[in-house]
């Protein structure tokens, strides 16, 4: 027996958290039911709490968790089958024809599970919650806190989604080739939404929000590992890494927001930037550009510049033009205008965003205000900052806008 050392509960928890998705995914394939899989992993956790502190962490924790959970679930089924439960008998029979160990990366069960969680028959909020619960191993209270929803609401959302999967027969498999692009878009949208929720909103529990960013990057890495030939998957991972690389520079010591041009670039995470750049090169080589790849490429150009003044705005504008041709959304048109202002001046940019249907989006008004300010139209800029303040409740955003508003006010009085 190996020499054991004391094992802390938090250490056991962290093993279960990181292996949760793999274990649940494998067991769903075996037992055909998400609740059975989750309960079995939960029971394995109780066993681990009992044994690991004495016996130490097993050499292959993932294998131990899956085997223990599987045995627990089989015990339950045997008891059910002895009560003449035909369904339990059928599952046991089916199990005897399956390999007991998780199979290789190509048919990784987690990929099946993420496509089930992000099935279009489920609403977006349910897709996000299920993905975090089943693949991320986040607890329901954690997910509720992250999305600022009462715990009971989040619990009900997850229960309803799981009930629909069972009742409606949402399948547990990677979609066929013909459906893959459309279904993959939903998966990538869910991962991106999880990241943005963690990155952009500064209200709520900071730790839980950082957890969301870490979790979405973990999911994106998993997808990139399992679907290395899908350029948009690599593009999404690159986009997340490059955005995350600026996280530390994005807020000042007092919690206020620092915009890209004013950020201290020495605080950018070089390792993440390097990895992001490599991914951008790798996916663009495939010659099948898509929205995530292009957004990643734009971020890569930003991170190439040693100072804000050295930014290659021509290239950024070209990338935005390409992005507009594949996803012509008002938000992208707005972001493109920022690049346009650098290349052709604020008047051209202002003309490009007039009439965009983004009245409820504070960054629309803030961008307009910025451009008006640069054109010396201070009174109109102040109105636009007021409009931006009227549509955001986020504390950090508000104090930033207040600051800009009073600066515009001073300029107007001069």
């Amino acid at each position: 027996m190996a020499v054991s050392r004391p094992v802390a509960v938090t250490e056991i928890e962290s093993h279960f958290r990181s292996e949760y998705g793999r274990a649940v995914a494998t067991l769903v394939r075996s037992f055909g039911d998400i609740d059975v899989a989750e309960e079995a992993v939960q029971e394995a956790f109780v066993v681990a709490l009992d044994r690991w502190p004495e016996a130490g962490i097993p050499p292959n924790p993932a294998g131990w968790i899956i085997t223990t959970a599987r045995n627990r679930a089989i015990d339950h089924l045997r008891r059910e089958a002895s009560r003449e439960n035909r369904h339990a008998e059928a599952v046991l029979l089916h199990l005897s024809h399956q390999p007991p160990e998780p199979v290789g990366p190509v048919t990784d069960d987690r990929l099946r599970l993420i496509f089930t969680c992000c099935h279009p028959a489920l609403g977006r909020a349910a897709q996000v919650a299920l993905t975090l619960r089943l693949l991320g191993g986040l607890s329901t209270p954690e997910i509720a806190r992250a999305f600022l929803v009462p715990e009971a609401t989040m619990a009900q959302r997850i229960v309803r989604a799981k009930a629909k999967i069972r009742a409606a027969g949402i399948p547990y498999r990677v979609p066929a080739e013909a459906k893959l692009p459309e279904r993959l878009r939903a998966v990538l949208a869910v991962v991106y939404l999880i990241f943005n929720e963690g990155y952009s909103a500064s209200s709520g529990d900071v730790l839980v929000r950082e957890d969301l960013c870490a979790e979405s990057i973990r999911l994106a890495r998993l997808l990139a590992e399992l679907m290395p030939d899908e350029p948009e998957v690599l593009g999404l991972l690159a986009l997340l890494l490059l955005t995350q690389s600026r996280r530390a520079a994005r807020t000042a010591a007092d919690g206020s927001i620092v915009l890209l041009p004013d950020q201290d670039r020495r605080r950018w995470d070089r390792a993440l930037i390097e990895e992001g750049h490599q991914l951008v090169r790798r996916c663009l080589r495939r010659g099948r550009p898509g929205p995530y790849q292009l957004q990643a490429a734009i971020n890569a150009v930003h991170s190439d510049a040693a100072t804000a003044a050295e930014t290659d705005w021509d290239q950024i504008l070209r990338l935005y033009d390409q992005l507009m041709s594949c996803t012509p959304t008002p938000v992208i048109a707005l972001n493109r205008a920022v690049a346009l202002a650098e290349v052709r001046g604020p008047a051209a940019a202002l003309a490009a965003i007039e009439g965009l249907e983004l009245g409820g989006y504070h960054l629309y008004h803030a961008t307009r205000a910025e451009l008006l300010q640069r054109l010396g139209r201070h009174d109109e800029a102040m109105d636009a900052y007021d409009a931006a303040l009227a549509v955001t409740a986020n504390g950090a955003e508000r104090s930033f806008l207040q600051q800009r508003l009073s600066a515009a006010g001073e300029a107007a009085r001069r």
Partner: protein
């Protein structure tokens, strides 16, 4: 095999398409039905007369009450339906996609509690 209800939802008072479109719809639905049968997915189907031909029967204070008109006071009514057999929701959604193309109205897919006997 699971069973699904594919119901066709019609909006009350919506303008009727021109006769040639209606005729093509009927032909498309016939063809669709034939395909459901040929592929063993068919259980039952039917088109319904407009909702104003409906009669509602209910028990009220221990008495049987019969009233004119549809039960739900909405603008949308069930116009027709299919009951199909399919291995899972993706298969049922694929049938529903063909159904909505054939009949030209939105199709709702809802699982039955019981599985098909065969």
């Amino acid at each position: 095999m699971k069973q699904y209800l594919l119901s066709v939802h019609m909006v009350e008072g919506a303008e009727m398409p021109p006769p040639e479109t209606v005729e093509r719809m009927y032909a498309d639905v016939d063809q669709y039905n034939a395909r459901l049968q040929a592929e063993g997915a068919w259980v039952f189907a039917g088109g319904l007369h407009p909702a104003d031909t409906a009669t509602v029967v209910r028990m009220q204070d221990g008495e049987l009450l019969t009233t004119d008109g549809p039960f739900a006071e909405t603008k949308e009514h069930l116009g027709g339906f299919w009951v199909i057999k399919a291995p899972d929701l993706d298969a049922a959604l694929a049938w529903a996609a063909d159904a909505t193309k054939a009949c030209g109205a939105p199709v709702e897919v809802r699982p039955f509690q019981d599985e098909a006997a065969d």
